[in-house]
């Protein structure tokens, strides 16, 4: 007989073979199929962790990027709270200190320092808040020139929006043109060498401002209330923006020209450097997945081990990069505690009892009699030990911090790199006997457990000029198994805890105006 005949026979017999369906299978399938499918990320904890990390990182970066627009609002907050002449002077003098790399920007800055129209632009841009993007801000002086010349060459403007008379507007245009012509020459020279416009020039220029521009400027300067730091736009400011939109067209266009940031005491970026010291009670979840090990063994092992509260202590340095983004790195020690309890049946215990008696006869002789009795008890034996898993780790984190002077929050994500790990205690071997885990030279557990993913939310309460208290609930997920591959199962720990600590500002300087 050839193999083919045998194969064909088996195939013919079994290809269409049907087995009786057990009861209740359809109900199970119907229930299962109607369940909403769980997404890939939720099935894969590693991908979930990486995804969350990426979201935190990208979100933080994007918010950091948008921070530059918020700074413009901060700059104008100061402008709006002072009188007009001071505002122009202040903006004019502060501008060059921030922008001294680009010739185009310097041109703008020079113009900003001397031009009354630019004072209006700045105020206007403040009112438009984040809606004014960087592209608008970086419009060069040549564009301003073009706009000014366009007005004077008869390019039609939207008259419906004006709130001043045509005569006043014409006068304003003439003055603007005259002023532009004067200052363009001056600014181009200054820009070439990157010089700072002086205040005298600004005041002199101000004296030539016509009443129309002054009234508009005052209207815009005084209408918006001061913006809080990080605040987007108040209702009053929106109203002011509405007023601004009704301005003559030439003023609306001029809002496109340069606006500058108002620098803080230590430059543009927040420069905080902190030392954080913390301690945390930890609750650990153990995950054991069967490889070659039998399910009965895994079940028995699970029943012998109970997780106990562990702890983490550590310190880290926190550094701001940008207004909100923070980087954290440090060193920490953590200990996971576990109670091992093994109950073994049919244990025998033999007890020997020796009874000694003295017997005195009638003659007064004393005889010592010893009875030896032994008895065996059969029962169970409970062996208990406290296991610990200790490790030294390197936390590396990226965070996004927000809040106000009273309370701050920080969303953190990152990795915890294990440097060293050691263990002590007992565990169950595959013959269901207790074996000791040595501190070193033992092949039960690895001595470096690679990387864990970490996510947390810090709640920070400033308590003194340099001190903050913080509470940080966190979760960490281990990416690799902690035991060696020879055991036939994969064990890893995930930890949830609450870090409580103190944060000390190391550089100690006042960070902003």
């Amino acid at each position: 007989m050839t193999e083919k005949i045998f194969d064909d026979y088996v195939r013919d017999k079994l290809r269409n073979h049907s087995s009786p369906i057990p009861d209740g299978l359809w109900e199970k399938i119907a229930k299962e199929k109607d369940r909403r499918p769980v997404g890939f990320f939720w099935n894969n904890r590693l991908m979930t962790g990486l995804f969350l990390l990426a979201v935190v990182a990208i979100g933080g970066f994007m918010l950091w990027q948008t921070n530059s627009n918020t700074k413009q609002v901060t700059a104008t907050k100061e402008t709006a709270s002072t009188n007009q002449i001071q505002t122009i002077n202040k903006t004019g003098t502060s501008t060059p200190s921030s922008n001294n790399n680009s010739t185009t920007e310097n041109n703008n800055n020079t113009t900003a320092g001397n031009s009354p129209t630019n004072a209006i632009e700045k105020t206007a841009t403040a009112a438009t808040n984040k809606a004014t993007d960087n592209k608008n801000v970086s419009v060069s002086e040549s564009k301003v020139e073009k706009m000014a010349s366009a007005k004077n060459t008869g390019i039609p403007v939207d008259r419906s929006k004006k709130i001043v008379s045509a005569e006043e507007e014409q006068q304003g245009n003439e003055n603007s043109k005259q002023w532009m012509a004067t200052n363009n020459r001056a600014s181009s020279k200054k820009a070439k060498y990157g010089t700072i416009p002086n205040a005298d020039n600004s005041i002199q220029t101000l004296s030539t401002i016509n009443r129309h521009e002054q009234s508009l400027t005052e209207q815009l300067m005084l209408a918006p209330k001061s913006l809080g730091h990080g605040e987007l736009m108040s209702i009053e400011n929106k109203k002011a923006l509405g007023t601004f939109n009704k301005l003559p067209n030439n003023f609306q266009q001029l809002k496109l020209s340069g606006i500058t940031d108002c620098p803080s005491a230590n430059g543009y970026a927040r420069n905080d450097l902190y030392l954080e010291l913390y301690a945390s009670p930890d609750y650990t979840f153990k995950s054991v997945m069967g490889g070659a090990a039998s399910s009965a063994y895994l079940q028995k092992k699970d029943s012998t081990e109970t997780m106990r509260v562990g702890y983490t202590v550590g310190g880290r340095i926190t550094k701001n990069i940008g207004e909100h983004l923070i980087v954290k790195a440090g060193l920490q020690f953590s200990q996971i505690n576990e109670r091992f309890t093994l109950r073994t049946e049919n244990e025998r215990r033999t007890t020997t009892v020796i009874t000694t008696r003295n017997i005195t006869d009638a003659a007064g002789n004393v005889t010592t009699v010893s009875d030896t009795t032994s008895f065996t008890q059969i029962g169970y034996l409970v062996k208990t030990s406290n296991n610990y898993y200790r490790s030294i780790e390197l936390p590396l984190m990226l965070g996004y911090e927000f809040g106000n002077d009273k309370l701050k929050f920080s969303l953190n994500g990152g990795a915890i790199v294990n440097i060293a790990a050691w263990y002590k205690g007992n565990t169950l071997d595959t013959s269901y006997q207790s074996i000791a885990i040595a501190k070193s030279g033992n092949d039960v557990y690895k001595h470096s457990v690679a990387v864990s993913l970490y996510g947390s939310l810090s709640i920070i309460k400033p308590v003194a000029e340099k001190f903050d208290l913080f509470a940080e609930p966190y979760f960490r997920y281990s990416l690799s198994n902690m035991n060696s591959n020879t055991l036939g199962y994969n064990q890893r720990f995930s930890t949830m805890g609450l870090s409580l600590g103190i944060r000390y500002k190391l550089n100690g300087k006042k960070q902003r105006l």
Partner: protein
């Protein structure tokens, strides 16, 4: 109801059509699962996962080729996925010197399906999977190699040994019967 209407109904999530499809397919597919699984409980789990996947992905069936073949393929893939979790070892098992085994057709002509199923289920995991995939499902050794992440030559040798072991078991069964 034609097969086309049944499939269309299942795509529309019609519970009646799904039930009908289950009744038509479940017996055969359970038999497939029983050949891969170590016990009936595991086979039920495989079948449950397989049919849920069929119902959730039935819209992917392009009406090209046999629908039963498509369902069988999905169920077999599910069964293999189950088995992969157990990390099947394709180890070489020492045989009882049955190299020169010759078996006449009458030796197995009276063998019923249930007996064959039982004998196949007694094969070692690696032998059983390769035997099922190649002889009954019709996959080539290259395809089996890709599916199980093993060499095609490993699949061939596993099949040869599976076949010999099965024939040996059939002969043993005959001896007992005699």
């Amino acid at each position: 109801m034609t097969e086309y209407e049944l499939i269309k109904g299942c795509i529309k999530q019609d519970a009646k059509c799904q039930r009908l499809l289950f009744e038509q397919m479940a017996g055969k597919m359970l038999s497939v699962c029983l050949r891969y699984a170590n016990d009936s409980m595991e086979a039920e789990d495989m079948l449950q996962d397989g049919l849920v996947r069929v119902f959730n992905n039935i819209h992917q069936f392009k009406f090209e080729g046999s629908f039963e073949g498509w369902v069988r393929r999905v169920v077999v893939n599910c069964a293999l996925k189950h088995l992969q979790k157990k990390r099947i070892q394709f180890s070489e098992i020492k045989e009882n010197s049955n190299d020169g085994l010759r078996m006449e057709s009458y030796a197995f002509s009276n063998l019923g399906e249930e007996d064959l199923m039982k004998l196949i289920s007694q094969l070692p995991d690696g032998y059983r999977i390769v035997f099922n995939l190649n002889i009954i499902e019709g996959y080539t050794h290259e395809e089996i190699g890709q599916m199980l992440n093993i060499q095609a030559s490993t699949s061939r040798s596993q099949l040869v040994k599976a076949r010999k072991m099965l024939q040996y078991q059939i002969l043993q069964l005959q001896k007992i019967a005699v």
